[in-house]
């Protein structure tokens, strides 16, 4: 925006348009993909169809939101996927037989997660490597608990994931719900402002008299809880536990956040965008199977899809991601 512009009040007219476009982008990508799928297979456009199409996106959405809270701090969590995997193991092994143990273990993992976050903030450690280390820790714990995939998630959990709510399929209700809650918590609640400020410019937030430690711990706790929920629902869908079930969640989550208009600079994330981003990415691989892409190109095609979706940002002249 030209500096002169700020002198005449009308100047911000061009400002919101880019914003809205950026938030609209993931929506557009999602619609295009759905369009393709429906074109190939109209029957998908049904309660049953949409349920199947998005079922696996439910845990991913929570994992992505968990990643979003960390990225809001200008950091990254490479242990997210392994953490979710560990949760599925705890759930599948203990939740049914010994709920007490399960809860205890889950609380324990959350505490460790937060403690590590705290360590990262006070010692100003590079989160990318610390969380890489933690991913080994989580995977290790998971394998100790459950040396090979198995266990059984409690029936109530499985049924919950099969629940058919009125009007919309469960995945869409979930998406709507967490998008709204997330938006309120981070974008419009008064403390959410502080949380985002702490991500972008901790020094000035501290100067305004806020406790950075509290803000950061809150974000880490939130991230841990969301990851736990992701693991819970995932084991509900897969009806079991598996240490290696979700390594992909780490990068998918990051992708979803960026797709949703987030940046690594801290403080710039969008819960709604992230949820939509997660839905989009979970469709990316589906689109390929609908389009019957040649096996040797299937992975490459996913890369190209990423490019296509994100390149839209350039067309609307958005800021550097």
């Amino acid at each position: 925006m030209p500096e002169a512009a700020i002198l005449n009040s009308g100047s911000h007219s061009l400002w919101p348009r880019r914003e809205t476009l950026e938030t609209a982008l993931p929506f557009l990508a999602l619609l295009v993909m759905l369009g393709i799928i429906f074109a190939v297979r109209p029957t998908v456009f049904s309660y049953f169809g949409l349920t199947l199409l998005f079922k696996l996106a439910i845990p991913l959405m929570f994992a992505a939101l968990s990643q979003m809270l960390i990225i809001n701090l200008g950091e990254i969590d490479l242990s997210n996927g392994a953490f979710v995997g560990l949760v599925t193991c705890i759930v599948a092994v203990y939740l049914e037989k010994a709920p007490g143990h399960a809860v205890l273990l889950l609380v324990g993992t959350v505490l460790v997660y937060v403690a590590v976050g705290w360590l990262i903030s006070v010692r100003k450690l590079p989160s990318i490597v610390v969380t890489l280390g933690m991913s080994f820790v989580w995977l290790g714990c998971a394998i100790i608990i459950l040396p090979a995939p198995g266990g059984h998630s409690p029936a109530w959990l499985i049924d919950a994931m099969r629940w058919k709510p009125p009007l919309m399929p469960l995945p869409l209700w979930t998406a709507l719900g967490i998008a709204v809650i997330g938006h309120w918590a981070l974008k419009s609640s008064s403390y959410g402002i502080v949380l985002r400020g702490a991500g972008a410019n901790p020094k000035s937030v501290a100067r305004a008299g806020w406790s950075l430690v509290k803000a950061r711990l809150l974000l880490y706790a939130g991230a841990a809880l969301l990851a736990v929920i992701a693991g819970l629902f995932l084991s509900g869908i897969t009806t079991s536990g598996d240490p290696n079930v979700a390594p992909g969640y780490t990068m998918l989550g990051v992708g979803a956040v960026i797709l949703g208009g987030g940046t690594f600079n801290g403080g710039v994330v969008s819960p709604i965008g992230t949820v939509v981003g997660a839905l989009t990415l979970s469709l990316a691989s589906s689109v390929l199977s609908f389009l019957q892409v040649a096996p040797v190109w299937q992975i490459g095609a996913q890369g190209l899809i990423l490019f296509l979706v994100l390149a839209g940002r350039v067309l609307i002249g958005g800021r550097r991601l």
């Binding site: 030209p2 002169a4 700020i6 985002r196 400020g197």
Partner: protein
């Protein structure tokens, strides 16, 4: 302590490693008093204010606020509760948030239903009160605002009041990136606020501002208060004398003979954007100034010319242009490097012996310039950030002048530089110009512009007026900059 004092600080000490930033400072402020705090770069002004606001903990010394003794650690939160606000030398807004949200950051009480509405009214009213006609979009992200507007927002935010009282506002070089008009509005408001019992501490190197806004002036030198007296009757030279540097009468620019006006040896010859935009040209050894209200496209034009110059000299390994940015935090210093590394980065190719950079050559270059610029530090191997704001600026200056660039762009380079140094730098620039180096100089302070041979006055992104020699007068410049502006 004197009863009735709002703030009373006694023998405050603070050392950073070897550097004694504060060597026993006594400092007090009355209710509703406007105190001017001046001193050369690195005198300890910012540090003193950081101690007062709780962002730096004092090593020793006691202080009272509103008669209450502050024992032990003092936090910004306590300062806020005690009615103190601070506008820091390096602006501290959250770039990812909009103006309203930044207001919320400052006030805990802005919460619950409708907090946004309340915050918006709060900041809007304050902005209108201080900078009528500011035209800042409250929905705009700070990142999208130019530095001038950011400073307005930060100042206005500091004066907003919710539950905690407002007793004293610390303003550390608040006008350093404000335009002329905004500065005038701001100073007027400080007086008005003082009238309503809100004290202010103003740190500035623009002594005229200090003289016309402050009741009392406190002078710091090397971490000590060396003088303080009421400002009536004081003149600019008095202040300069108090700071221990003598002010030489400014060399008044004389119109040059037409010798280098021929178009062939011009180093810059850029057409305007359109009919209403004057073409800009620059001859070797010339100093041209960009004037006008801050944020009217001077900076963009400088960058454009600079990058054009870069591209033109890309083939040659040594760029023919150099740039001194006033916004040193984001565009100037390299944070983890030493002073020496920061100084040499612009001249590396000429320091190379074969493929490698010669340590000896760098060393001698650095030492030469550290001496010439009188950079206040004990070793060029210290981290650049251990220098005070103004001293960092000197290093950036040295970086540009040390390079073999034929044209040097000065982007409000005196921001936060003390008077003594300024005079030095003015001389330096003249000397360099005499040897055929050309300068493009964007200054927010009018009197700086009198160092220029010619001046282009900018309005709304265009160069609208061209002044030369004796025409370079404040009235002419102001007339041109305000032109048909609504808020003129």
């Amino acid at each position: 302590m004197v009863p009735g004092d709002l703030i009373a600080m006694d023998s405050i000490r603070k050392a950073f490693g070897a550097v004694h930033a504060l060597a026993g400072v006594d400092f007090h402020v009355d209710r509703g008093e406007v105190v001017g705090l001046i001193g050369h770069n690195g005198a300890g002004k910012s540090t003193l204010m950081n101690v007062l606001f709780g962002t730096t903990q004092r090593d020793s010394g006691r202080f009272h606020i509103a008669g209450r003794e502050i024992a032990g650690a003092f936090t910004p939160h306590q300062a806020h509760e005690a009615g103190i606000r601070c506008v820091f030398q390096e602006l501290s807004l959250c770039e990812n948030l909009d103006v309203v949200e930044n207001t919320r950051i400052l006030h805990r009480s802005l919460q619950g239903i409708g907090w946004r509405r309340r915050a918006r009214r709060l900041i809007a009213d304050q902005l209108d009160a201080i900078f009528p006609g500011h035209g800042i979009a409250l929905k705009a992200r700070i990142a999208d605002l130019p530095i001038g507007a950011r400073q307005m927002v930060e100042i206005a935010r500091a004066f907003t009041v919710t539950d905690a009282p407002l007793r004293c506002v610390i303003l550390d070089e608040p006008t350093s990136s404000l335009g002329h008009e905004a500065t005038r509005q701001f100073l007027a408001f400080v007086r008005q606020a003082a009238g309503q019992g809100v004290a202010a501490i103003v740190i500035s190197h623009r002594l005229d501002e200090i003289l016309n806004v402050c009741d009392r002036v406190v002078v710091m030198v090397d971490g000590r208060v060396v003088a303080q007296q009421r400002s009536e009757g004081l003149t600019r030279p008095d202040l300069v004398a108090m700071m221990g540097s003598i002010e030489v009468p400014r060399a008044v620019a004389k119109a040059r003979d037409g010798s280098h006006d021929q178009t062939r040896d011009r180093v810059i010859d850029a057409p305007g954007r359109d009919a209403h935009d004057l073409p800009i040209h620059l001859a070797p050894g010339e100093i041209i100034g960009f004037a006008g209200l801050d944020g009217h496209g001077q900076r963009e034009r400088m960058r454009a010319l600079f990058h054009a110059g870069l591209k033109a000299s890309r083939d040659r390994h040594r760029p023919a242009v150099a740039y001194v940015a006033g916004d040193r935090q984001t565009e100037g210093v390299f944070r983890i490097w030493s002073i020496a590394d920061n100084l040499t980065i612009g001249t590396l190719p000429s320091l190379c012996r074969g493929p490698l950079i010669s340590a000896a050559a760098s060393r001698s270059l650095v030492e030469g310039w550290m001496a010439r610029m009188k950079v206040k530090t004990d070793s060029a191997d210290r981290p650049i950030l251990s220098l005070s704001g103004g001293n960092q600026q000197k290093v950036l200056f040295a970086r540009a002048l040390a390079s073999d660039a034929r044209t040097v762009f000065l982007d409000d380079p005196m921001r936060g530089v003390d008077v003594g140094t300024k005079v030095e730098v003015y001389r330096l620039i003249r000397a360099e110009a005499a040897q055929g180096r050309s300068f493009v100089w964007y200054a927010t302070e009018l009197d700086e512009l009198t160092n220029c041979d010619r001046i282009y006055v900018f309005r709304e992104g265009r160069a609208v007026e061209h002044l030369e020699g004796t025409d370079i007068r404040q009235d002419r410049i102001l007339a041109a900059s305000f032109g048909g502006m609504v808020n003129a």
